[in-house]
Symmetry: C2
């Protein structure tokens, strides 16, 4: 086992550069931790003329993926291309060539996990992916190894740093959504096209991976109910604050009955083993009490709160993206392969396999939650009677209601906020449709889940 | 590898009962996770007539440690006796008999880690101890595996749930130390004799273990500078709050120069690799800014903030004690042994070995910190001049100073709070001695470190 482990990096952008730096600048440390040398033998890039870390020997840089994968001196292929096209080809070819794979590619695993893992099992090789979820936060190991004595009953997670940065800037700086987004872009926390971050897609990919580890379900990202942060206005942040809540974009999974966050239907956070083998999944803005652990996660950080039936709740928090945090997780996987741990974990975990742990994904409309609903209504008699009648028709009771006096004279639209008791998403949506069609409803209603 | 792993529990009190319950009530789950059955074959107790979990077959309960350890059907001995007497004998005998050991015994590892690990290496067996630090929070795996790409540059941790419960009750309930302690005892968070929890000994044991993993230093707990929470009064909580701080009992390790929490001397939290291979260790009440992650950890929870030179800061938080959280970590170790991961980790990590990672422990008097100092002084002219002169003599500058008007007329002692800039602990102690001897100093000064 003291043989050198040869490594090929496919893709050497931000994260790849970080991985190369750790392997080259801290070779002694990595060798000591892995019990054998980890040697960077191939770096495959699109444009070899681009200037790179001077520690990378020029003669290992090339554009030839095929040669890198088939180099007998390469034992591990690190896929850092991203996406589900070329990246998938590289991963499958690497496995077929008898190489282990380390990847940070959440989209690939969420979309094609079964295919990739089946190929790995056929080739008797290992796929590692700590960096694919929550960057530098070791949540894959936490779920798969540290909490192995538990059946996870719920996960509540901040998995998109961009969205959390924007929401923090709105809550603490009183900024509008547009201004907060612009600030995030200026500081490099948001892309020029931020769609996949702010519409919940990125978090849904990551949640699909966590749900596979925790529950054995293979939910496709597009099957996960998803709501982004782009409908949140400054006024919602203020109303939430007035009610004692902070709005966070959460990726959530919870088991048992069909309720959000441990209500009467009993489950998830009670520490009891789920009575019903169903798991609800969604990505959505959620109102959390100011004192909740996740309400206090600020800026671009990620945090994952896991409820296990033995341990109770544990929290994992840290940088969810960025060059060196992500490199930290990629190199941890390489060290695990060097030690021989990763191979054992891979064989034992049977991820994306036919092994059924009995969980099925709950249809979104059956998921129960409390809801925050903000309407813009025309300020005239009977409005409240209409809205409350519609909710009553769907057997949705009201927990609290806030309507302030109109700021201006003259009966322009005013905001009306209703917080409901638990209701199924299906019935809430029905009520919402009817409320939207009321002649007194002046704008599309805005709604979010309540975290309690 | 599909052979059954036979387990003997030595000690079946609170934690042992929890371990037995998980292994027996969730046998299918544990088998699935470990890839082989884990069978509880022996339970050794002092008093077999005591009533226990009805799931434990009566015929595996005995008082015979020797028979359990030497049973050829037993492959892993779980030591849950505690202490460093009989427990050490059991662990060494088990290793000599060719058994792996899982233990939750922080005192044993902190005091005799070298002896135990050397014995394990001689016997080619593995020792696992996730439960020994922070109960259900998987910080041993985080430091040893997840962060393996990093040199840890600092650790800041709440490792004693009892102390944190008391400090939370003082801060949020306005309670005195005595009342908060009484409440902790009533709720089962503090023992009848709480000395080892509130004087910092318990946290020092745990810090010694973390320091071995992160820095390879073998500090004995009694060599770790230690200050408890029993000198904290309600007035300190109030003054700290007024200055923008929360007081927490922290176990801290930081590398590099000799300063507390990333000051000018540059290091630890900067993400840079430490320039000087020294590590400072202490357990002490520390004033943290209200917005610091650890300032927000409430009640009996534990939390560990780790600074790595690659990843930056990551946080691990959860229940630091209790039956099922601790059992969760013990069973995770058993599953790791079943999978074969633990053996790889043990061999690679070389803990408590002669392998030198170059760090030495900084002498406490050279450690630099800012200090909070509360004096009770006689309210008369010249007092402030004397105190500030003494600090100036030791080249300690003052960052802020709070003296409120005396509540009563008549010149009785009044509190005076001084917050210093960075100073070496040695010089601060010298100044403190002189201040204590001033005729105007009416009571023993109280001081804590500042977290920034």
């Amino acid at each position: 086992m003291n043989d050198t482990l040869g490594i090929a990096l496919i893709g050497c952008g931000t994260v790849g550069g970080g991985v190369a730096r750790v392997l080259l600048a801290h070779a002694d440390r990595v060798t000591q931790r892995a019990g054998r040398p980890l040697e960077l033998r191939r770096v495959v890039v699109r444009d070899p003329s681009k200037s790179r870390d001077p520690l990378i020997p020029l003669d290992i840089i090339s554009t030839d993926i095929h040669a890198a994968i088939n180099d007998p001196g390469v034992h591990v292929v690190v896929e850092l291309i991203g996406g589900t096209g070329l990246a998938k080809r590289v991963v499958l070819d690497a496995l077929a060539a008898g190489k282990h794979v380390v990847t940070a590619n959440k989209a690939l695993l969420a979309d094609a996990g079964a295919e990739v893992f089946e190929a790995a099992r056929r080739a008797d090789r290992t796929v590692c992916f700590e960096a694919a979820v929550a960057g530098g936060v070791p949540v894959i190991r936490a779920l798969g190894e540290s909490l192995a004595a538990n059946q996870v009953t719920a996960i509540q997670a901040i998995l998109n740093g961009t969205s959390n940065f924007i929401l923090t800037a709105m809550a603490e700086g009183g900024k509008s959504y547009a201004d907060a987004l612009a600030e995030a872009q200026k500081l490099g926390y948001a892309e020029a096209d931020p769609t996949l971050d702010v519409d919940g897609s990125d978090a849904a990919h990551k949640l699909a991976i966590l749900a596979q580890i925790a529950f054995g379900v293979a939910a496709k990202p597009h099957e996960i109910a998803r709501q982004g942060i782009d409908t949140i206005e400054a006024i919602d942040i203020r109303f939430a604050n007035e009610l004692g809540y902070t709005i966070k974009l959460l990726a959530e999974a919870w088991t048992g009955g069909h309720s959000h966050s441990g209500n009467g239907a009993k489950l998830s956070r009670s520490g009891a083993v789920p009575a019903e083998p169903t798991v609800a999944l969604h990505v959505a803005p959620v109102l959390l009490r100011h004192t909740d652990l996740l309400a206090q996660v600020r800026g671009a950080y990620n945090a994952v709160l896991v409820y296990g039936d033995v341990v109770g709740e544990t929290l994992y928090q840290g940088p969810g993206a960025g060059q060196m945090p992500t490199a930290s997780s990629v190199v941890a996987d390489l060290i695990d392969l060097g030690v021989g741990r990763a191979q054992r974990t891979f064989a034992a975990a049977k991820l994306w396999s036919r092994e059924d742990r009995g969980f099925t994904v709950e249809p979104p409309e059956r998921v129960r939650s409390r809801f925050y609903l903000r309407l813009q209504v025309v300020d005239r008699p009977g409005v409240l009677a209409d809205v409350t009648r519609i909710l009553a028709d769907e057997e949705i009771s009201i927990s609290s209601l806030v309507q302030h006096e109109a700021e201006e004279e003259g009966g322009g639209p005013v905001p009306l906020v209703v917080v409901t008791h638990y209701a199924s998403t299906g019935r809430f949506r029905k009520a919402l449709d009817r409320i939207t069609r009321l002649p007194t409803t002046a704008a599309a209603p805005v709604f979010f889940s309540m975290g309690d």
